[in-house]
Structure formats: structure tokens, C-alpha cells
């Protein structure tokens, strides 16, 4: 399992925020590469304690790679291992995926020679004795947003001549999908076609945000973005990030239009300019 908050331990643990170690860092960075058959997780990690690093090198402790998506996988790393390959038939990154490193003892470890602890532990560190399989530290959590295929794309446009309406807005798992009955409705080939689609984008955003409020707000009609659980699903997670990045702290059915104007990069202004331009040049 992955720790998102500081857990309470009866002995000092190395984390990025602990006050027990003088250099409180156990940082992890992960890059993803892939070929047809496998994902490769390239690991870049640093342990801020010489004591623990020595345990790892001497195999008295092991770094464990933990990846949690649909299920959880634990991989014990050899001391200088820098990547892990996992077959695509055995891991799905479609949903949100969390990765963390933990360090665990392989045998009984005394802390007498642990000179990396803060002075608070000096008087009694020789009494700290960890048995086998105990946690020595855990890193930050690296999250893949479950949107490998479409990392930033919020909208998808589709043409569907069989639609029973002229346009249909559908909320997909990763994107807002705009279905058009006729190609003309997309203004393809026209200058500024992107901006002419603004009204549809607006409707799409409105629908997605209303859905966000009802999914994340649990009937309260409002979501406090600073305290709510980070949404798990792709589209809501993208919207959440977008809003947080724009410093929006609350979204409710009341302020959806305000939120749209804050997150939509002057969408309406650009639309209005495009129409004006057309009017000036047009027939």
C-alpha cells in the first residue's frame, strides 16, 4: 500500500517530511517508457541517510517498488537497479496509478550507529532495535494520471451522421466528447474554426463541471477543492487539476460559469474576436 500521509510509527522513519532524520529526504522520480509489450519504469531516487544507504548496499535492507493501479505489485530492487519492466498484459495504466518506494529491513537492525538521526534520538537510539521486515522509510508518491494516451486533451470531436440530434455532448472517461451530426457544424476548413466551436466547448465544459459537482460533491451541490479527495476518474481528475492550477478553491452549481471563465483561457473573448473578424471581412 501507498502512504499519502505521515503514518505514525513507534520508531524513526525516513520520509521527505520527517523530523527524525537530519536530511529528511527519500525522493523518487519516475519516467515511463514503453514498447509494444512492456512498460519500463525508470527510477531516479535518492535516500538522504548514509546509514540506510549502507544497509541497502550490504543487503541488510531492501528497496521495494510498489505500484498500485488495478491491484498492487511489489518488486524488490537490487541495490543499484534503475528500472523495472512490467508487461502490458500485467499492468494497466489507464486508471490512476501510484508508485512509491519503501525500504524494509532484511534482518534485525540496531540504530546505535545511525548518525543520521536528529539529536533528539541521541540519548536512546541504542535502544532502538528493528526486527526483520520492518519499514525504514518511504518516498514521495509518483502519480500517473491515467491519461497516457491523452495527457492534456480535454475535448474530442467526433462525426456521427446517425445522431438523432444535431449535436451531442458526451462525457467520456478521459475526455468530453462532442458528437456532430454534420461535418459543416464543426466549421472545418474555415479560418478560426477552433474559435467558432466555442459554444459547443462551453456546453461541454458546463456539462462536465455539473457532473464533477454531483460526483465529487456528494449531494451537497458544492465541492471544496482544497479539502476534497482527489478524483479517481480521468476526466474529473483533469478538471480538478485545471481548477486547482487556476487557484479555484470551490466549485458549486452556483459558480460554474465563473469557473469556466477562469479555466478557459479567454475562450469567449477569442470567440467574439473571431466573429467580429468575420463580420468585418465578410459579405
Amino acid at each position: 500500500m501507498i502512504y499519502k500521509k505521515d503514518a505514525n510509527f513507534p520508531y524513526p522513519i525516513l520520509t521527505n517530511t520527517t523530523t527524525a532524520y537530519m536530511n529528511p529526504y527519500f525522493s523518487l522520480d519516475v519516467r515511463l517508457e514503453e514498447n509494444t509489450n512492456a512498460y519500463r519504469f525508470l527510477l531516479d531516487y535518492e535516500v538522504g541517510s548514509t546509514f540506510i544507504n549502507n544497509l541497502i548496499q550490504k543487503n541488510q535492507a531492501t528497496v521495494i517498488f510498489i505500484i498500485q493501479s488495478k491491484d498492487t505489485r511489489f518488486v524488490k530492487l537490487t541495490p543499484n537497479q534503475s528500472y523495472i519492466d512490467i508487461e502490458k498484459s500485467r499492468i494497466s495504466l489507464n486508471k490512476r496509478t501510484s508508485i512509491q518506494l519503501q525500504i524494509q529491513t532484511n534482518e534485525e537492525i540496531g540504530f546505535t550507529n545511525n548518525d543520521d538521526l536528529t539529536s533528539f534520538y541521541e540519548p536512546f537510539k541504542n535502544e532502538i532495535m528493528l526486527s526483520k521486515n520492518k519499514l525504514l522509510g518511504f518516498s514521495n508518491v509518483v502519480i500517473f494520471e491515467g491519461s497516457i494516451q491523452q495527457p492534456l486533451v480535454l475535448f474530442e470531436k467526433k462525426l456521427n451522421e446517425n445522431l438523432t440530434s444535431d449535436i451531442k455532448v458526451e462525457l467520456g472517461t478521459e475526455t468530453i466528447i462532442l458528437h456532430y451530426k454534420k461535418a459543416e457544424f464543426q466549421f472545418n476548413g474555415m479560418r478560426n474554426s477552433r474559435n467558432f466551436n466555442t459554444p459547443y466547448l462551453y456546453i461541454g465544459l458546463q456539462k462536465a463541471l455539473q457532473n464533477f459537482v454531483s460526483e465529487c460533491g456528494r449531494d451537497e451541490g458544492a465541492v471544496d477543492l482544497t479539502h476534497c479527495d482527489v478524483p479517481e476518474t480521468g476526466l474529473d481528475y483533469k478538471l480538478y487539476n485545471l481548477m486547482v492550477k487556476k487557484m479555484i478553491t470551490e466549485i458549486s452549481n452556483e459558480n460554474i460559469d465563473e469557473v469556466i471563465s477562469l479555466i478557459s483561457e479567454k475562450m469567449i473573448e477569442k470567440y467574439s474576436m473571431a466573429v467580429r473578424e468575420l463580420d468585418q471581412n465578410g459579405d
Binding site: I64, T72, K88, S89, R90, S92, L93, N133, K158
Partner: protein, 257 residues
């Protein structure tokens, strides 16, 4: 074989169910998305064991394990752990098989939801079988060991179900280790038995579930999901000892204290 994926919204659509019965799904664009997936072979396998018991149930599970292991889990996991893929496959390619094998779907929409478009989680039989097949195919050393492990899943289905409910325990090594430990200690009967005279534990509490519950509670102080088998065995016995007099189980008791 190309499978066209259903568009969202089918799960609570009674019309969709009626159209399924009348064979009117294929050809109705409203029900489909623009997405396709391709898979080489899609043989039939039993995918609903909710009404079976005893030998019939075991046989159905074993057949599902084998076929899923051979044909389905080789695809990208995005596919075979995707609810929409399985629902689309069943509805568009397995209609005849379903009507023949699970005629209960004709009784009503709720039966159809329970059997064909069941949520894809630990309660879904395909999900259970996919995970078991992945875990055992990857860890089992040979065919004899694999079939022994599959049998252990069936003999300990209650514990298996309970394990795969927990995200931290839902992993290959842990599932296989626990099954082997139950086998080695010969405690399968105990693990699936109801705990009596403990109303504080809630209804229908079983020893096996309480053991997993204790391991979950003690994590991360006790790192159960990644322990070596012998270390984990001690933790299992210790957890069991809170609820059961384990002195009859054997010498292992000596080593836990």
C-alpha cells in the same frame, strides 16, 4: 476478431436489455461507441457461477480459469481488466451462448444485470477468474503446481474473495502465499468456518476473513503483503490465534512466541 465497444449508458437501460433479447443490439448505432478492440480468439467460457454449487461450480471455475489463462490474459491488461470490453464481448458475440447457458437472463432486467453486465469488481466472476489466472500462470512453476493452485483458490474461495477486496492484498505473491500457507497448515476448513459466539464481530464472520482483517490492520507495522512465506505463516497463525485455539494446528505455534 474485432469487438466493437458499447457506448456508455447501457448499464441501466431497460430498452438495451429488451433489444438484447430480441437480437436488436447489433446494427443499432445508438448502442455503440466509435471504439474497437481486436483480439485473436474469443472462446466461450462459463462466466457466471452464482447459481452453481459443489462439483458443478468447481468444474465451471476450472474451465473458466483454463480458457481465460490460455486466450484472454495475454492481451494488454487495459483490455482484459476493462469492464466495457467484457460487457461488449458478451452482448455482441455471446448472445446465443448466454441464452442457452444462462436462461435466467430472460426472467428480467435484474437477472441480466447480475449475470451479463455485472459490475467488474471482486464480486464479478470474470474478474475473479482473470486475477486468479494471471497470478497463478505467472507464479506456478509447472502445470501440476498450477492446477494445484487453482484447486486451492476453489477450496478457499471465501478467503480469496476477501483478499481481492483489499487493494494492498490484491497482488499475485500474497494471494499465492496465503493459499499455500492454508494448504500447508491444513486449515482450509477452519478458515472458512463461521466464528460462533462472537456477536461483536458482526454477522457471518469467518476465521479466514478475520485473519486477513488483522493483517490489514497491522500493516504497515507488519508488512504482510511482501513477507516471505515462512514469516507470513507466523503472522497468519498469530492472527488466527486471536480467534481460534491454534494449539491443535501444530508445531508452528512454538515458533511464533
Amino acid at each position: 476478431m474485432e469487438i466493437r465497444l458499447l457506448a456508455k449508458g447501457y448499464k441501466n437501460n431497460v430498452q438495451f436489455y429488451e433489444d438484447f433479447l430480441e437480437d436488436k443490439i447489433i446494427g443499432n448505432e445508438d448502442y455503440f461507441s466509435e471504439e474497437y478492440v481486436t483480439i485473436t480468439d474469443i472462446p466461450n467460457f462459463p462466466f457466471y457461477m452464482g447459481k452453481e454449487s459443489g462439483e458443478g461450480r468447481n468444474k465451471a471455475f476450472l474451465e473458466a480459469f483454463q480458457i481465460i489463462a490460455k486466450y484472454y490474459i495475454l492481451t494488454d491488461r487495459e483490455l482484459h481488466l476493462d469492464e466495457r470490453f467484457w460487457h461488449s464481448l458478451l452482448v455482441t458475440k455471446k448472445r446465443d451462448y448466454i441464452l442457452e447457458k444462462y436462461p435466467a437472463v430472460k426472467e428480467g432486467f435484474s437477472e441480466f444485470k447480475k449475470i451479463v453486465i455485472k459490475n467488474f469488481d471482486w464480486e464479478n466472476y470474470i474478474y475473479k477468474c482473470v486475477l486468479a489466472a494471471e497470478y497463478i500462470e505467472d507464479i506456478g512453476e509447472n502445470e501440476i503446481e498450477k492446477s494445484h493452485l487453482y484447486q486451492l483458490v476453489l477450496d478457499n474461495l471465501d478467503v480469496y474473495n476477501y483478499i481481492i477486496k483489499y487493494p494492498i492484498f490484491r497482488n499475485a505473491e500474497f494471494v499465492v502465499k496465503i493459499l499455500m500457507i492454508i494448504d500447508e497448515l491444513n486449515i482450509s476448513k477452519i478458515m472458512k468456518a463461521n466464528i460462533k459466539n462472537r456477536p461483536d464481530l458482526g454477522k457471518d464472520t469467518r476465521y479466514g476473513r478475520q485473519v486477513i482483517y488483522e493483517l490489514n490492520k497491522n500493516y504497515p507495522i507488519v508488512m504482510a503483503p511482501m513477507m516471505e512465506k515462512e514469516d507470513l505463516k507466523k503472522e497468519v497463525l498469530k492472527a488466527l490465534s486471536y480467534y481460534y485455539d491454534i494449539s491443535s494446528i501444530g508445531r508452528e505455534l512454538v515458533s511464533i512466541n
